[in-house]
């Protein structure tokens, strides 16, 4: 396997009151292999979107990436890049799609102009060749009558079609990695299914790695290879998807699963996590989940590192060091 991305100890800060800064992303590390899909899962405010923006140095000021963070794209050290060098990796090596395709498309240009613009920015080819390639891309993302759709303006397309156009634009530079930030959240479920099929197909055919950022455990199951659950600016649990869904071990992950309504299986009253996600300026000390955790104990007052539960399955909870406790937790969940 080829490692295409490695993020180490990523910290993103914003100015707080007075001269303080707070850290919405606070020590996030993960890696991505060629053709792999990693899902970064968490509730709003957990830092998942800022993590993805940091990959291309897109953190809006006055936010900044703190020293000591590293992001390696193959051999490239992203955080040392500036200007033209940085521009060359944006889109070209890492493509991005966002939740709302309407705000990312320019309403006064046709689909054709916008797809071709992307192609010509990265490749020295003729306009006619670029147009052929645009047609091909639209076909690849499953747009019917692609020749007609090229002439359309964004407002003439449905939400699902716009998201396909965005994927086509992201693909036009043939990136190694596609970052998909809540790509289906604004779409209806039947359309959501279509878009997820498109992403899956691209990964298999092109060997593109996908970083899927989502709040929805449902779309992760059966799609992502690995899952990293984020809470309060940190990854709190990480494992292969099947493993994580079979053995959610961190009390937060367990709480998330107990909160999700299911369409099949016995109908039970939901068992929600108490309270709500704290604000980034007020991350609790010690274990950040402690104030909401039904299993908090004396050690939770010290901040836990990511501790292995099994090989290739880690969690940020001291319970991982006590096999008896964690086993009984699984039975409860």
């Amino acid at each position: 396997m080829t490692r295409v991305l490695e993020v180490n100890n990523l910290r993103v800060s914003f100015p707080g009151t007075g001269h303080t800064r707070f850290y919405p992303v606070d020590g996030v590390s993960f890696s991505l292999e060629r053709g792999e899909m990693l899902a970064l899962v968490g509730e709003s405010g957990c830092g998942k979107s800022l993590t993805s923006l940091a990959l291309l140095q897109l953190i809006p000021p006055p936010g900044r990436i703190e020293g000591g963070s590293t992001i390696r794209l193959g051999d490239t050290d992203v955080l040392t890049l500036k200007g033209e060098a940085l521009r060359r990796i944006r889109g070209r090596r890492v493509g991005m799609i966002f939740q709302d395709p309407m705000t990312s498309l320019n309403p006064v240009f046709t689909v054709e102009a916008q797809v071709i613009e992307g192609i010509l920015a990265h490749f020295k080819i003729s306009k006619a060749e670029a147009r052929d390639r645009a047609l091909q891309l639209l076909r690849e993302v499953g747009i019917p009558d692609p020749a007609d759709r090229l002439k359309a303006y964004p407002h003439q397309l449905s939400g699902g079609m716009r998201q396909r156009v965005m994927i086509a634009i992201a693909l036009s530079a043939e990136p190694e990695i596609l970052v998909a930030d809540e790509p289906t959240t604004a779409l209806d479920v039947t359309v959501q299914a279509q878009i997820l099929e498109v992403l899956d197909g691209l990964r298999t055919r092109r060997g593109m790695a996908v970083l899927l950022i989502t709040h929805d455990l449902g779309i992760v199951a059966g799609r992502a290879d690995r899952v990293a659950v984020m809470y309060a600016g940190q990854i709190v649990e990480e494992a292969a998807t099947a493993r994580l869904f079979a053995n959610p071990s961190h009390p937060y992950t367990q709480g998330l699963f107990a909160s999700v309504p299911r369409i099949t299986g016995p109908l039970k009253r939901l068992n929600p996590i108490r309270g709500s996600v704290p604000a980034p300026a007020a991350w609790p000390t010690g274990c950040r989940f402690r104030p909401r955790c039904p299993q908090a104990f004396d050690r939770s007052e010290t901040e836990p590192p990511l501790i292995p539960v099994e090989p290739d399955h880690r969690m940020r909870c001291w319970l991982a060091e006590d096999p008896n406790t964690s086993r009984s937790l699984f039975l409860d969940s």
Partner: protein
């Protein structure tokens, strides 16, 4: 069970002036919808964006005027009430919205917002109002001292609780819940769903629960009506709709629900194409342009199917008897 709310042939068209003053075809948001909601019952109105489900809820409370049709609340025709009578009935019927922030006045304390309904309807002497507000806050799981705070000081879930407390402040029996949990994070969504279920139980409330998420609906609804392009295409008990759906659209909708369980290998039906425009709906069965039913034929393109009993539900499909099912061969 006698119905608390009965809706018959509700139609809501939105007219807009077309380009250069020519009249454009109306958007047929709701195109002949009928249903009953019993006392203490939750009916879920389910469908994708643009199917007309929110228009039904808003028209029912006369936040918008209907184009035609009838809505009875305890036998009284809501659509023919004058202003005074309408105000009376709004003590009984309330609505909570997806985004509680936009429905709360940012310059009014939460306590004042909750007290507003009590004052307008003269439901309590002035000196008793603070006590009532405190009790309502407690009932929705908030600290009574929060009455002095402003909406921006609350999280999304807390604001939705304030919205619920505000609805409960009047002598309520019926709430239109318009996507009340879809803007909330899962952990908070579960809290609000449990709260709505508890309130229904304690106060005998009836809900019209408008939502797009069938898994959420399963937690709270007794019956489900599935809407597509302004029409109800299938209706039945929650259990029947989820276990034995007869309309192909319901089957597709169910199969598309992402289930957080990799071992539940469910057959997914990926519908082709998009929702047709509600200002230019296809003739015949509204769903025929995306339908995957193997028996689909010219009849579907010409004749509008009516809701009729098939199996355990009412389904509007000519061939509902043989609708293919996406059977869940779940591997435990």
């Amino acid at each position: 069970m006698t119905a608390l709310v009965s809706v018959r042939n509700l139609v809501k068209y939105y007219h807009s002036a077309g380009l250069f003053g020519r009249s454009a075809p109306p958007v047929r948001a709701v195109d002949g919808v009928s249903f009953d909601v019993g006392r203490g019952e939750t009916l879920a109105l389910v469908g994708e964006s643009g199917c007309g489900k929110s228009s039904v809820g808003r028209t029912l409370l006369r936040l918008q005027e209907p184009t035609s049709g009838e809505a009875l609340y305890e036998g009284k025709d809501v659509f023919s009430l004058n202003r005074t009578a309408l105000r009376q009935i709004r003590r009984r019927m309330q609505i909570i919205f997806q985004d509680p922030y936009s429905s709360l006045n940012p310059r009014m304390t939460v306590g004042a917002a909750i007290a507003e309904g009590i004052e307008i309807h003269h439901l309590a002497p002035r000196q008793e109002i603070p006590g009532r507000v405190a009790a309502l806050l407690e009932e929705v799981g908030l600290d009574p001292t929060y009455a002095r705070r402003y909406p921006h000081e609350f999280s999304g879930g807390q604001r939705q609780r304030v919205g619920i407390a505000r609805a409960l402040a009047v002598q309520l029996s019926f709430i239109v819940c318009d996507e009340p949990v879809s803007a909330l994070d899962v952990s908070v969504q579960a809290q609000v769903l449990n709260l709505l279920a508890d309130l229904q139980h304690q106060r005998g409330l009836s809900y019209l629960f408008i939502a797009h998420d069938l898994a959420v609906v399963r937690q709270i609804a007794h019956r489900i009506a599935v809407m597509y392009l302004g029409r109800i295409v299938e209706e039945g008990s929650t259990n029947e709709i989820l276990s034995d759906p007869r309309h192909p659209y319901t089957v597709a909708l169910l199969s598309a629900v992402p289930e957080p369980d990799p071992s539940a290998r469910r057959a997914r039906i990926v519908l082709s194409g998009d929702l047709p425009s509600p200002s230019n709906p296809p003739p015949g069965c509204p769903f025929h342009t995306r339908c995957f039913h193997p028996l689909k034929d010219t009849r579907c393109r010409i004749e509008v199917p009516l809701l009729r009993p098939v199996g355990g539900t009412l389904a509007a499909c000519h061939y509902a008897e043989s609708t293919p099912r996406a059977v869940a061969d779940s591997v435990a």
